[in-house]
C-alpha cells in the first residue's frame, strides 16, 4: 500500500465551462460512486469522485476554489497524488434505473450507467444551471436508452431543475431505482419525489472530508461517516438522517445550514 501515490495526467478534457476531466492510470480496483483523495502539494488534498473507474481512470473537476482551480489548470505530463478509492458504491437495480445528475454529480454517475451494461435499463436526467455546464450528455447516450437535459435558465433542454425533469420522466415510466448525485437541496426534493412514487434510491452525498478513511469524523452526517459509511446512501438511511438537506459541518465541526 502506498498513500498519496503519484500518477501522471495522461489526458485532459475540457467538458464544459468550468469542468475539466483528468485521466490517469491508478492501479487500484474501483467501483462506480467511489472517490479518491487528490493531493496537490502546497495546495490541498480534496475528495473527488472517480468519473472513470476502469484501468484508465479519471476525475471530473468543477472549478470552485483554490484546489479545484489548480486541478483544472493541470496539463498532460503533470502529476497528482492519490489515495483511495474510498467509500461504498452505487448498486444499480436489475430493473429500470433513473440516473439524476445535478452539476458535477454526473462525474460519479456516469460509471454506474456504464456498469449496467444494458442501455434498456438506464435513463438519464441531466440538470445544469446553464447550457455550458451540461456535461457528459454524449457519454450518457452511449449507455442509456433515454437522456434528457434541463437547465435552470432554459438555455438548453427543458427549463427547470433536474428534479422537475425527473418528475416528468417518472410520470412517463415506472423506475425501480433512482441513482442520484448533485446539490443536497436537489437530493432532498428528489427524496420526497421518490417517496411519493415509492421508488428505491441511492444518493451520493458530500461532506467536508479530511481523512477519507472514517477516522476524523469531519464528514459526519448524523452518526454516519460519509467517507466510509457513504458516500452513497439509500432512501431508508436518508429518511432517518436529521441533518440531510439541512446542515453540513465546516472544518471545525460547526454546524452550517445548507
Amino acid at each position: 500500500m502506498r498513500s498519496q501515490m503519484f500518477t501522471e495526467i495522461r489526458e485532459v478534457v475540457k467538458e464544459g465551462k468550468g469542468f475539466t476531466t483528468l485521466r490517469f492510470r491508478f492501479a487500484r480496483n474501483a467501483l462506480p460512486g467511489q472517490f479518491v483523495m487528490v493531493w496537490l502539494p502546497d495546495i490541498d488534498e480534496i475528495p473527488m469522485s472517480l468519473s472513470y473507474v476502469e484501468d484508465f481512470k479519471g476525475i471530473t473537476v468543477r472549478e470552485v476554489g483554490v484546489a479545484t482551480r489548480a486541478l483544472s489548470s493541470l496539463r498532460v505530463g503533470d502529476s497528482i497524488a492519490l489515495r483511495g478509492p474510498f467509500g461504498n458504491h452505487f448498486e444499480p437495480s436489475h430493473g429500470l434505473n433513473l440516473i439524476v445528475s445535478g452539476g458535477t454529480g454526473a462525474a460519479s454517475l456516469m460509471p454506474v450507467a456504464e456498469v449496467v451494461g444494458d442501455k434498456r435499463r438506464v435513463d438519464v436526467a441531466i440538470g445544469a444551471r446553464t447550457r455550458d455546464e451540461v456535461i457528459f450528455e454524449n457519454r450518457a447516450r452511449l449507455s442509456s436508452s433515454e437522456v434528457r437535459v434541463s437547465t435552470d435558465d432554459g438555455t438548453y433542454g427543458m427549463k427547470g431543475t433536474a428534479v422537475d425533469l425527473a418528475r416528468i420522466m417518472m410520470k412517463e415510466k415506472r423506475y425501480d431505482m433512482i441513482l442520484a448525485c448533485g446539490p443536497e437541496m436537489m437530493l432532498r426534493s428528489l427524496l420526497e419525489l421518490s417517496k411519493e412514487y415509492g421508488i428505491s434510491c441511492q444518493f451520493s452525498l458530500e461532506r467536508f472530508m479530511k481523512c477519507g478513511v472514517g477516522l476524523c469524523g469531519s464528514c459526519a452526517l448524523d452518526g454516519k461517516r460519509v467517507c466510509a459509511d457513504g458516500p452513497v446512501f439509500r432512501r431508508e438511511e436518508l429518511e432517518s438522517v436529521s441533518e440531510f438537506g439541512k446542515y453540513k459541518r465546516d472544518e471545525a465541526g460547526l454546524k452550517v445550514s445548507l
Partner: protein, 302 residues
C-alpha cells in the same frame, strides 16, 4: 456472556472498550453511534476554548501498519460543543470529555464546562505531538502537569484523567506527577511524533510536516508505557495504541490497563471493532472459566 464490566476510578463501563479521542468524536451523534456499536465508553474529540479549523489537508497518511495524522485539533470550541454533549450523553454510556489548552486555567475552565455538560469524567490531552503550544510540549514537564491537574481538580468533582505522550523518557515521572496532584487515572498513549516524506513531491506529505503515528505500529510502545506506569503508580491506567483485536486488548490489560481505548482500528475495521473485541473477551473469560476481567489486570507483572 460473562460480565465484562469494569470500573475505572468509580465509573462503571459495561465493557472495557472505549472510543479514543479524536476518532469521529466531534459530533454528538457520532459518539452515540460508537456507543450503539458496543463501546463501553466514549471520549470526545479534544475540545479547546475556541473554534479551530485545524490544519489544511493532507492531514492523514495511510501506512501499512497504521496512520500518521496531523489534524491540528480542529474543534467547534467548548461553547458550541454543549449541544453535541447533550446528544452524546443520551447513549447511556459514560462520555469522557477530552480537552486541550495552554494553561492550567484553560484546562480548569474547559473541564468545568464538560462537567456541566454531563461528562462522566474529563481527559486532559497533554500529549498531542503536532499542535505547537498545546499537547506534548506541556505534557513532558512534571511540574507543569502537576499544576494543571491541581487546577482541574479544584474545578470539577468528576474523575480527571491525564493522557500522556510516549515521546519522552519521563512518562513515569509525569505519571507520578499526575497521581500526586490528585489525578484519578492515566491514559497512555497518544501518538508518536513522526513524519512521512513523498519522494515525488520532495517534501513531507502532511501540510503540518510533523504528525502523530498510531495503529499497530505503536502497540509495542503503548504496552511498554502501560507496563512501566503500572509498576510505579496506583491510579488506574487506560491503555491505548494499536488495539485492533481482543488479544491486543488483553495484552494491554495484562500489562496493567483496566480499560482500553480504540482509535485507528475504527478506520480499518469500522465501529464493529467494539463489539468484536467485547465478544472476544467474553469468549476468552468463558473458555478460562473466569468470572471477570479484574483478575487479569496487571498479571504480566507477576
Amino acid at each position: 456472556m460473562k460480565s465484562l464490566r469494569v470500573s475505572v476510578a468509580g465509573i462503571i463501563l459495561k465493557n472495557p472498550t472505549i472510543l479514543a479521542s479524536g476518532i469521529i468524536g466531534e459530533t454528538g451523534r457520532s459518539l452515540l453511534s460508537a456507543i450503539e456499536a458496543g463501546a463501553g465508553a466514549v471520549v470526545t474529540k479534544s475540545i479547546g476554548l475556541n473554534v479551530r479549523k485545524g490544519n489544511t489537508n493532507p492531514t492523514l497518511v495511510e501506512l501499512p501498519y497504521g496512520y500518521l495524522n496531523a489534524m491540528g485539533l480542529p474543534n467547534p470550541g467548548i461553547e458550541a460543543f454543549g449541544e453535541e454533549m447533550s446528544i452524546a450523553i443520551r447513549g447511556g454510556a459514560p462520555v469522557i470529555g477530552s480537552v486541550f489548552g495552554q494553561s492550567a486555567e484553560d484546562f480548569a475552565l474547559l473541564c468545568s464546562r464538560m462537567q456541566k455538560y454531563g461528562a462522566s469524567a474529563v481527559e486532559l490531552n497533554l500529549s498531542c505531538p503536532h499542535a505547537s503550544g498545546y499537547g506534548m510540549e506541556i505534557g513532558v514537564d512534571p511540574d507543569n502537569v502537576s499544576q494543571i491537574i491541581r487546577a482541574v481538580k479544584r474545578s470539577v468533582s468528576i474523575p480527571v484523567f491525564a493522557k500522556l505522550t510516549p515521546n519522552t523518557e519521563r512518562i513515569v515521572e509525569v505519571g507520578r506527577a499526575v497521581q500526586e496532584a490528585g489525578g484519578d487515572g492515566i491514559v497512555a498513549i497518544n501518538t508518536l511524533k513522526a513524519m512521512a516524506v513523498s519522494i515525488e513531491a520532495r517534501k513531507p506529505i502532511l501540510s503540518n510536516k510533523i504528525g502523530g503515528l498510531s495503529g499497530p505500529a505503536v502497540k509495542p510502545v503503548g504496552l511498554r508505557c502501560v507496563y512501566e506506569l503500572y509498576e510505579e503508580l496506583d491510579v488506574p491506567i487506560i491503555g491505548a495504541g494499536g488495539i485492533e483485536t481482543w488479544r491486543d486488548a488483553l495484552e494491554y490489560m495484562m500489562a496493567g490497563a483496566v480499560a482500553v481505548q480504540i482509535g485507528s482500528a475504527v478506520g480499518k475495521k469500522g465501529l464493529k471493532v467494539f463489539g468484536e473485541i467485547g465478544s472476544g473477551l467474553a469468549r476468552y473469560l468463558k473458555s478460562r472459566g473466569m468470572e471477570g476481567l479484574d483478575e487479569l489486570v496487571g498479571v504480566a507483572h507477576a
